[in-house]
Symmetry: C3
Subunit: 389 residues, 3 copies
């Protein structure tokens, strides 16, 4: 009964919105000082950094006995990815970019890396995250070169402003593929447990991601398109948040806080490809659909996938970043007028193939450095903090 009421509320709320907000606002045009633009990008670069360390970091703290390891891993992954990406990209073969733009592109790479790490979280030793970072970034840059920059004139123009495909789907598929070599049989049966405190830390990370997500999607968008992009991203996030709640209650009987912490963000993942183009109602709908897909992933597919592929995806990145990312990439074909659909599909397929091959390879290499077996999901590599004894 209460479910029906919720459903009635949400339908009326969407109808109200759709009925009134089409062509809500005209995009403001303006010409701005280039220094101002770069400084504006700086603010967004800082917001993204908050997402990387505090957002992704604390989202992964949901594993109750692995929180300090997850935070240390986050520190190391970011600290390896940024200089490595910027160093490689400073080679002469790449297009020239301003310092802040290079920083933002490096942050995008670090975000994708953190997503990949989420799939194998807790099943590798801490120093192995450094190896993961060193191997991931070159593959990521290769995919960026092929799909985003179309360096080999092979793909065509792919719509992916906010990285649904090349950041989210790439990271998720890479991580899942790496998990093939990095999931041992005994680990299949070790539960990944959270508690009330680790859940609340996890929601903190989730909220940091939610709040700053528009800066992620709009980071490199031209100044005139930023306001529209930002509102689209927030609408998509609102849509996925409400949809996650409803889907979670429908599928599980009660809302799962893990669904809220994760699937509520799926709107941000899904809107990535079309964030600067979609109308506001389209953004809201993309968010709702992405939220439903992601919640179905967490509530229904996760265990099936796990027993089918014989892997564990610790943070469920396939559900938060994989499926919604691919959905977002495909949604662009419907949403963007005159989009080259074949380029878009080619971009998705190449990204997926490259991510899977690179992930399998990387997982294999990392597994050569040893495996954690029954010690999984525990802070075994952390020395107890004791400043004084």
């Amino acid at each position: 009964m209460s479910k029906n009421k919720i459903f009635a509320c949400i339908v009326s709320f969407i109808v109200l919105f759709l009925g009134t907000s089409t062509n809500l606002f005209a995009i403001q045009t303006a010409d701005a000082n280039p220094a101002v633009l770069q400084l504006q990008q700086y603010d967004r670069a800082i917001h993204i950094m908050a997402m990387l360390l505090i957002g992704f970091g604390f989202l992964m703290v949901f594993v109750k006995k692995y929180g300090r390891s997850a935070l240390t891993a986050t520190f190391l992954l970011v600290a390896v990815a940024l200089p490595l990406y910027m160093g490689v990209k400073s080679l002469n073969i790449f297009e020239s970019r301003s310092e802040i733009e290079q920083l933002i592109l490096a942050e995008f790479g670090a975000a994708s890396l953190l997503i990949a790490a989420g799939a194998i979280l807790g099943r590798i030793k801490i120093y192995q995250y450094i190896i993961l970072g060193l191997l991931f970034i070159p593959f990521y840059i290769l995919n960026e070169l092929v799909v985003v920059n179309d360096y080999f004139h092979f793909v065509g123009k792919v719509a992916d402003t906010g990285g649904s495909i090349v950041i989210h789907a790439f990271g998720a598929l890479f991580g899942i593929a790496a998990a093939v070599s990095l999931t041992s049989k005994p680990q299949m049966d070790i539960p990944v447990e959270s508690d009330e405190t680790s859940d609340r830390y996890s929601v903190l990370g989730s909220m940091v991601l939610w709040v700053f997500w528009p800066s992620f999607c709009a980071a490199l968008v031209p100044i005139d398109a930023i306001p529209h992009t930002v509102v689209n991203v927030f609408l998509a996030l609102c849509g996925s948040t409400v949809a996650t709640y409803i889907a979670s209650v429908m599928l599980r009987g009660k809302v799962s806080i893990a669904d809220m912490a994760n699937a509520a963000l799926a709107g941000g993942v899904g809107i990535g490809a079309t964030c600067d183009y979609a109308s506001h109602p389209a953004a809201l709908i993309i968010g709702v659909v992405a939220g439903v897909i992601s919640t179905v992933g967490f509530a229904v597919l996760q265990n099936k996938e796990q027993s089918f592929h014989k892997i564990v995806d610790t943070c469920g990145v396939s559900n938060l970043h994989g499926l919604p990312g691919i959905f977002g990439g495909l949604a662009a074909i419907l949403v963007i007028d005159g989009l080259d659909a074949s380029a878009q599909i080619k971009g998705i397929i190449i990204t997926a193939l490259l991510a899977i091959v690179a992930g399998l390879l990387t997982g294999k290499v990392i597994s050569l450095f040893g495996k954690t077996e029954e010690a999984a999901y525990k802070d075994v590599d952390i020395k107890e903090a004791e400043i004084f004894a």
Copy 2:
């Protein structure tokens, strides 16, 4: 003895400040590119979003067994309020605003909604927060139309840049009125308990609110007045923070962390109406007075009000947002030269009446959907997080 010393310190500190800072700085004037202005507003919009989700969300986590529910509720309230507000405001009867300004106005509405929700927190089921949001926002818009936009040419010009009256007092009074139907007899005796961990989460939320409060007050302020506004807000917050500590120690013997987490923010509430106009010393004094009022509310009035009105105000929003908001609205009459005092008082009275009527109505409607009785303040609607079993 130690109290006297504290008192001596604080007096000398205020005297020093007052003696030296009058006419401290001239306000800088400048004309700026409109696109730049809109992008600047964007940064403030993000700051406000951090306040809504992380700030209000974690401030409410002080209820130790209801933390995950409070965070889920925060997610839902924000995700319902933003699209609903923007959808309604896109109807042709309202003034035209840029996308970012619409977003900021929607965030103001969400803030007021979160305040209202704080009064009944823990005593409704999670899906009922969605109903609360759907009912609150139209009333909020109505009050905005009448008092802020003076749509019916009835009120006159009200000074309320940072929302002391139409955001804080409206939300608090709405929530308290809603609590009339949403406080059952058995619930009067259920303690609202916190523990060390929930307290620290709560201070996290409080600090997020403190830090970004200037962006809230200055969100729609003209570019020239922003620096002065920002410094005023920080001074008011400094004043209320120190005053809260002293008042809390005086009234309770020791400082209460709940007082610090809440009443320290009262300066931000109180300065709202005059943030862009007050001199720096006036801002500091408004902050000190607001902090004292709020602490007295938490330490002395709360229990009396509760037994008198037979309601529970879970987060004490009457003490943090109600009293300091009305104080801030009235302080404008003293602080702003040439202010139409009758308009200001009319604005406060209309806001209060509308909030109370709307709150009583909304509380009644929500109570039709069922009540939580002895299950209050517990995460009973949350399914335990278990990504894998």
Copy 3:
């Protein structure tokens, strides 16, 4: 074996970076609207405020039984420092600054104060932090006048854009000197304990500091130099983060989360003096060295210093802010062409002397107000939060 692998990875990563990134980007020049500049400074001022309250505040929550006291102390220290600094600086003897610049300078003073407080954290009563703030700020302003403004034409031009010397080293040395009178014999044997939850809070504070550190260093930097400065600061932080992990594992066998939470930030401290001048590879190297110095401090020197000087430095500020700060100040002599080395050294020595004398004096004065003995590091001054009973 795994250590050697880590080492090989890090070396190859540095070599790769050094080989490719020299003269990575030209600094962009541009002329911007002064109002825009001031608004940009505003965003950085907010970021710094997040560092002060949330960053420093939660970093100090690692003391497991003193978390709420540490957060209350942070609130009070900031709330006393800002108005006091701005009040004193509004006297006519100081240079004229815009409101936002005054705010930023006040925040720098509050940062230095929080560093000083870290050394004596948990061993004074809460109201004594107010006294600490009232005494610290005048000394800080005096040092700023002598060393930064060279008011007496005695020092010469000191390179210290991001405050390695006058903020970090000054605060650390002041705090250590104050600890001489504020460490009793019995307190030498009371352990400063953390637990899993307090550790995670501590990393939250650390990450907030990490993320916003570029805004701290670039706060008052001319607009053209901001992008280069920002990238330098992030590179230094990446360097110290990876170096801290490796050094911690080498020195302790396993990584200490306290090392990660603290020494990972040493790159930000060390790059302060040269953040707007150093090349990117130099910034990375300064970060690595600062991280190693700081980790050696925490892992090796801390206990020795403690037994030698008969003081307790609760947060290890000598290791995070003292040594890396002085290192950063000296590194400027190597890094900046044409720097007046004698002025730089004079600046460091005067800062150190003034900090030590002022700290000894302040510690003595505070100790007159009473001491906490065996009650150290416990929330004894906090009334248990009970909004309702």
